[in-house]
Amino acid sequence: MAAEHKIDALGQFELHPVFGELGRALHFSNSNLLMVIASALILLLLYVGMSKRAIVPGRLQAAAELLYDFIYNMAHDQIGHEGRRFFPLVFTLFTFILFGNYLGLVPGSFTYTSHIAVTAALALLVFFVGLLTALKVQGVKFFAHFMPEGAPVALAPLLVPIEILSFLSRPVSLSVRLFANMMAGHVMFEMFAAFTIMLGGLHLIGPVLGIGPVVVNMALMALELLVGGLQAYVFAILTCIYLREAVAH
């Protein structure tokens, strides 16, 4: 690649089957393997962390309890008393995305949250859970939300389509935000890493200049750690906000 002076920034997002023939037959890709690893780590954190059931928690138990309390308070504060019902969903979404983002930062692994199909599926799950809950809780009154209260009736033909459009665009923004953030970060990694390799072949001064992109990548890694946590948080808190609107009377 370096010799041809081309940067393959998108190759890292390619899906390929794992576990040889069996994986190929089951269409089980590297993306799914990372999902399994992330799920196993989440469950391991909770099961191993809470195995002692200590009154005074150790490090792992404190981490598990901190994660639990963090999401529980978020769900409870945002959705209200009804939040308890949706807490497992919010917890699953947050940890699934967080672990996906962070596992993707391990060199050589795969970031399943950088695939629009995955983030769109998660966003549609949130969208339909919110929609069904709203229809169940509010019934026909739910459709009244598309006409803002106190607005002049004459503006209805303008306002109602806008409100419907903004409601329908929620899963789009939710999925694209996560997907674009994760993809952009990983493309940047690949670009700067490729710069280093390209500079390495540049006469004598090249290997010295090549340190520059490595330093940039180190800074990017810090940024990506922030972005990975932030995007998981944003996804979870928006889920809570949508569900609060759904359960509100």
Binding site: K6, D8, L10, G11, F13, E14, L15, H16, P17, G20, R24, H27, F28, S29, S31, N32, M35, V36, S39, I42, L43, L46, Y47, M50, R53, I55, Q61, A64, E65, Y68, D69, F87, P88, L89, F91, T92, T95, F96, Y112, S114, H115, I116, A117, V118, A121, L122, L125, F179, M183
Partner: protein, 199 residues
Amino acid sequence: MTRSVLRRLPSRILSASGALLALGAPRAFAAGMPQLDFGNPLTKWQVVWGAVIFAALYLLLSRSALPKVAFVLAERRGRIEADLDAAKLMRDQADAAIDALRRARHDAAAEANAIVDKVVAEARAQAATRNAEMNARLEAQIDAAERDVAESRARALASLPAVASDTAAALVERLLGHPVEQARLSSAVDAVLADRRAA
């Protein structure tokens, strides 16, 4: 199904997928964004498998792992509340014990004061009766002494004329050289004594 899908793919994607499928083969350049390569069956299947994995994770978390954490947290909250209640109970007991002690000390002090007062009063009464007795006895003795003195005086006064007449007889005998008649002497002395007494 896979084959029919693959047959319809543009040749560039076909070659890329083919290169990927061959284990150990060098990675081909991605043609466009692999995320939007819906010709690759893995793009759709990762969502199917993802749904299965997510559902399994959700079920395990909501049915088993999260209730376990909730149980430990609730247990801790209960334990802390029970400890606080026990501590409060103990403090109440200690307060009650201190009150009882204070009351007992107060009662004991009052009782001691009463006993001291009683003893002092008794002692005072005893002293008073003893004083009275002593006074009475002393007065009796004084009376007796006074009576003795009066008696002695009377006796002395009674014997005075005899002594006077004897002395006078002796003086007269010495002066005259011979004894005088007893009767005359006695009357003369008595007369002088009577004069004295009258004076």
